[in-house]
């Protein structure tokens, strides 16, 4: 435990010095502000409170941004140590590779939590400013916060696995961006194309729902939108996904960080310093 916290402390300090903390917080804050400004138009017709609407738009934002920030922080974790030559020494210390990885994970997750809290805080503040009924949306906001952390945790862990597999920061960065593009952007387009081509056949009814919750980003979106009152306000894919119980989506976002960390540990063990 001291070893994990020691590693987390050093890692957090490095991220602070390297401006990663500032960059992550600034990115989330900026996007939240843009979102709040864009959504400040009156929405009285919808009959829901302002914060619930904000949460729905924040969900769409988080799906893109949280995995990106997580991958940006994690791609260098192991490849960077290999490149700098700091790995051989630390591996002769009485600390396991899993503990080193968990230390980095704790630090990066804390930074992510800070960034997400600041970003969502700004958006919530704006919602409260425009609509005194906004407190109705607080449970949804809270849910969005902790599921965002789980989503971030999943992509941090996947980033570590990529970093260990690539062993060079440049290659790891390429892999991370590629993964983000495939899992966040192209995945849904591909599924959509599949559904359209299938025309309501076996793929749409049996394969598609599993493919959807198999991707942590989609599971995150499904869970938050299904549990939110404001589904109708922002959902693009939720219509097709109504058949998926939120519990399964939640299980997916809970499971992904664990699977990711397991993969990352396995990949890290194969790295010879």
């Amino acid at each position: 435990m001291t070893r994990i916290s020691a590693s987390a402390g050093a890692e957090f300090r490095i991220a602070l010095r390297n401006r990663w903390v500032t960059i992550a917080v600034a990115m989330m804050a900026l996007f939240s502000m843009v979102l709040s400004a864009a959504g400040s138009a009156p929405t009285g017709a919808l009959g829901v409170d302002k914060l619930s609407v904000t949460v729905a738009s924040l969900t769409s934002l988080a799906v893109y941004l949280v995995p990106l920030v997580a991958l940006l922080m994690s791609f260098d974790a192991i490849a960077g140590e290999v490149e700098r030559g700091t790995l051989p020494l630390v591996l002769t210390y009485p600390v396991s590779r899993a503990e080193l990885l968990l230390g980095k994970f704790v630090a990066h997750l804390a930074i992510l939590a800070l960034a997400v809290a600041v970003g969502y805080g700004i958006a919530a503040g704006a919602a409260f400013y425009f609509d005194p009924r906004a407190s109705a949306g607080l449970p949804a906001l809270f849910r969005l916060f902790w599921t965002s952390l789980l989503l971030g945790a999943a992509f941090l862990a996947i980033g570590y696995a990529l970093s260990a597999i690539a062993r060079r920061p440049g290659a790891a960065a390429g892999l991370a961006i590629g993964l983000w593009l495939v899992m966040i952007v192209l995945y849904d387009l591909g599924l959509l194309a599949g559904v359209v081509a299938d025309g309501g056949g076996y793929f749409t009814t049996h394969v598609f729902p599993w493919l959807l919750i198999g991707n942590p980003a989609d599971a995150f979106r499904l869970y938050n939108l299904a549990a939110s009152e404001a589904t109708a306000a922002a959902a693009g894919i939720s219509g097709a996904a109504n058949t998926i119980p939120p519990g399964q989506a939640l299980a997916s976002i809970l499971l992904w960080p664990l699977v990711g960390l397991g993969l990352a540990t396995l990949a890290f063990r194969k790295v010879t310093p």
């Binding site: 001291t2 070893r3 916290s5 020691a6 590693s7 402390g9 050093a10 300090r13 490095i14 010095r17 390297n18 700098r84 030559g85 700091t86 051989p88 020494l89 630390v90 591996l91 002769t92 210390y93 009485p94 600390v95 396991s96 010879t272 310093p273």
Partner: protein
């Protein structure tokens, strides 16, 4: 009980035999120098002892445990060649981190840095350090937690002569407390006086493993006698001793170990013609090339 035992350790990288049947021991309190050309297998051997890379065959025990096991890592300190740290951390932060990893009190970090002469730079980022200063951080971390075996890869590279002397004094202290030390070096002259035993690796083969005195006997390399003569006597002295005249006043003689006293007798017999005599035993450099050459002839029949 020995601190480190290796027997018949073999490691190949593809077709390249990096280590071939290497076996030696290091006892508690013993300082052993590991010598060899670049690529002789020194760093590979050290990484194997630390459990960083696996070996193909043979046996290794580190403080009674397997290399790289938790029990071994708790009591082994390592200083890698060209040690590197994260440039964003200060020396103090880096050392506090290492102390916590070893379960030691982080508050002792400043003392350790002071021991290696880095107290003034402790709160500066390592990115601003010179190579010698980074090397000192490396030394400081190797002193953490009373290690029983120190594996030091080129520990004095980048250090100035005064720091080197301080470093070896520190090693003497650790050895006196019973720590076993295995160090590699290119600076043969400094190893000569400061280690108890010498292991020479050449192309992955161990060609020597003994004290310096025993290696000298084994190699039976000629001893040099530098005879300084009175002015204008050099030619006469060279003729009568059958040696080579170097310049106006010096005559250089070589002889085997067993002829040394007889030769000295001949020189003293010349009496007033002689100003001074200097006996130069084969240096570690000579021994080193002698033993390294053995493998060259062996591998190229």
């Amino acid at each position: 009980m020995t601190s480190l035992t290796l027997s018949q350790v073999t490691k190949t990288f593809g077709a390249n035999r990096a280590l071939d049947g290497v076996g030696f021991t290091v006892a508690p309190g013993e300082r052993v120098a590991l010598l060899g050309h670049n690529g002789a297998g020194k760093s590979t051997l050290m990484k194997i002892i630390l459990g960083l890379i696996p070996f193909d065959s043979g046996a290794i025990t580190v403080l009674g445990a397997a290399p790289g096991s938790h029990a071994a890592r708790r009591k082994v300190a390592y200083l890698p060649e060209n040690v590197a740290f994260h440039p964003s951390l200060t020396g103090l932060e880096q050392l506090r981190y290492y102390l916590r990893l070893r379960g030691e009190r982080p508050a002792t970090a400043m003392d350790l840095l002071a021991r290696v002469g880095l107290a003034d730079a402790a709160k500066r980022r390592i990115g601003t350090y010179s190579k010698g200063m980074r090397q000192r951080v490396g030394l400081a971390q190797a002193l953490i937690g009373n290690p029983r075996l120190l594996v030091l890869d080129e520990p004095t590279s980048g250090l100035d002569p005064v720091s080197r002397r301080e470093f070896y004094a520190m090693l003497d202290g650790l050895a006196a407390e019973g720590a076993a030390i295995l160090l590699s070096s290119h600076a043969l002259t400094e190893v000569e006086a400061r280690t108890d035993r010498i292991v020479i690796l050449s192309k992955g083969v161990m060609v020597a493993n003994d004290t310096l005195a025993a290696l000298r006997r084994q190699a039976a390399l000629p001893i040099h006698l530098h005879v300084t003569t009175r002015p204008d006597q050099a030619d006469a002295v060279a003729r009568s001793l059958d040696g080579a005249r170097m310049n106006g006043v010096t005559v250089d003689l070589t002889c085997g170990h067993d002829q040394k006293l007889a030769r000295l007798g001949q020189i003293t017999a010349l009496g007033a013609m002689i100003e001074d005599v200097e006996v130069i035993p084969p240096s570690l450099e000579d021994l080193y090339s002698h033993f390294s050459r053995q493998t060259d002839t062996r591998t190229q029949p």
